[in-house]
Subunit: 435 residues, 2 copies
Amino acid sequence: MTFERVRGFRDHYPEDMMPRKKIFKVAEESAESLGFKKVDFPSLEYLDLYRLKSGEELVGQTFSFVDKGGREVTMIPEATPSVVRMITARKDLIKPIRWYSLPKIFRYEEPQAGRYREHYQFNADIFGADSPEADAEIIGLAGMILDGLGLDSRYEIRISSRPLLESILNSVGCRDVPAAFGVIDRFRKIGRDEFFSEMSETGIDNEHTDLLYSMISRTVEPGKIRDVTGGFASPSVDSEISRLQYIGDLVSRMILSPVKVDLSIVRGLAYYTGVVFEAYDVMGKHRAILGGGRYDRLAALMSDQDIPAVGFGMGDAVIELLMKEEGKWFYASEKPLFYVCCTRQESKGYAFAVSREVRSGGGATIDDLSNRGLSAQLRNAAGEKCDYAVIVGEREERSRTATFRNLVSGEQKEIEYGKIGQHVLTLKGVSENKA
Amino acid sequence: MTFERVRGFRDHYPEDMMPRKKIFKVAEESAESLGFKKVDFPSLEYLDLYRLKSGEELVGQTFSFVDKGGREVTMIPEATPSVVRMITARKDLIKPIRWYSLPKIFRYEEPQAGRYREHYQFNADIFGADSPEADAEIIGLAGMILDGLGLDSRYEIRISSRPLLESILNSVGCRDVPAAFGVIDRFRKIGRDEFFSEMSETGIDNEHTDLLYSMISRTVEPGKIRDVTGGFASPSVDSEISRLQYIGDLVSRMILSPVKVDLSIVRGLAYYTGVVFEAYDVMGKHRAILGGGRYDRLAALMSDQDIPAVGFGMGDAVIELLMKEEGKWFYASEKPLFYVCCTRQESKGYAFAVSREVRSGGGATIDDLSNRGLSAQLRNAAGEKCDYAVIVGEREERSRTATFRNLVSGEQKEIEYGKIGQHVLTLKGVSENKA
């Protein structure tokens, strides 16, 4: 009899889970260094919560069921609706509010490389601030996390603006802005001819469609947005360009990698109302590494409150692929690792006490749990990639000492029991790969 | 329109989530200091996985449903079956294996104080070692976590042994050991008369039932087990007593709180085969704080492999209650917190750069995201419980400096831009409650 895992789900063995902890740690510490605080929410919510924001398409991709009380519930397919539910439920919160979360989320999609039915998603949002500084801080946090993971050579931040695009579309007589957004969203897939024909259906003439096509085909520095938007002009176009440039300037002061403007980015979901952005793999191997934007109308849609919001989400699966490609997918213990060998059954109690002293000095210990001989124990110490062996036997117990052996150099030293913690403190942590 | 949370589930706002992170951190660091490594597994498993170990009672308490492929799946009600599935799927793992995990688990039970339909559970197990040293290490880890949370005055470890109880029951002619275990498990609920009548049904006479009753009514130090088991004797009773005493001695070398023997502990689940234990609230307010034991037959039940195992699980809800009662439920940032004020819109870019320098020196920053005046910004800094304000305006930008104000003493100091990181490094972190 064997048991299998549900299709599209992952087991994480230590060699993959310990490096994954690094993603979580860097993301959480980066967020906290900007004053964000962690929240959490149920893994199960009423399905209605997603209908308003995301519509029936997402609902069709959920792990949903009818609970024993007869109501439709679902394993959460995203984080934002839960967070907004929490925000609107508490009117006493002082704004602006900076929150992050790290739930597992669930999608009933066909599994493929880098896409699973369950993954961790780091989310960060600022509520109650509609300023470009808030936009910049969210985008900057996304970049700081990638920088902290050593991925700064692999990404650039690409920013865009829905109100800027909307102003441009309005300035050229577009009669159906949402449809035009949809065409822009698909422009790399559908080809130039299809782009022209679909744009003309929204009321834009060929001359302006040509300008639009060339505008969304290019990526430029924030200072040079007008190089690509030159063909369009209106007061609101000008003001949105200024805001986007300003955001780009602020973000560039927070992160290591370049910030570019890419006006082909509209992000699929209809609920974005301001800046939108993605971290883009400069090697071109992967789809967007992460993405987000401003969504000022969601709270009002879900409650009687009007709360501006900007945020982003980052899944663990694409980050894992990038870190593996960049040779960063390993685990380095922060503590030196000691294998505590005991050569005599009667001295095990003393060995446990020695082990505690090693931990009190900041070491991690692996106690031998067998009655094997010393050489078998030392082989196990090597297999566990320990930095030191601590050997305890009859002689050591009688003299209240322990013998420390450096497993790299072979050097040995006998240390008094009362000085073990101090001795461990003086030993340097070894930062080898111990995953 | 308002949206509600599913009944029995929790939202965790920052004031509760940041202290909860402390539970997770202490648990994970304690485990890693003993060489345990983290694993993770799906939140959704086939329901069959739980039928073997836990039977239909547990299955009736699951959030289970039929997936779109027609198979019965469930949100995981416990961690052990998934971990054992992972262990038995990989024959290349070098034993002993020390693993920990921290999943959310789900039970469809009636919610009550300290019991939710979803909670975090920290789990730690050792596979492939059947020695008493392995038992002790697992029990010791449980105690180390409670010590690390500052709960050492609130708990004691109580150990017991299923094979010892079984040997004792066999020595007095018990014909139905599982039934007798059930009676012992309920002895505090059913009262003395009922205990005698149910025990006699398993074939034990009144004289021995009297001895049993007095044995399980007392809690003794490991060195004094024979004070309560004196009426029972056989070679296997003797050998199990020695093992339990030895385990107790080893555990006491790992933790701050006392280790006691309490032979009324059998733990409900049928699958335990050796030592069983609980951390017990010495104030008597709560049920077991955590619990576990040895379960050597589960792997063989689920696969063709025989793998001894010992482990425990600890939920977050009871720990939260204890920490609140002990005044330990707060969050102290490890980093000093700086509120970066900007008195002039045109200097925001410079303020963002100053903020980055503060973070590079190890500070956490809150950037003002408004265009309010300085006094409003400083009020917000106080509301966010910041340690320092960093003020940037026209004068500071022109002279490439920033003004640091200690928000407790009011002391101010102007620092050159290039020395900000260094200056922050010299400031001490303030460990006030910032939750």
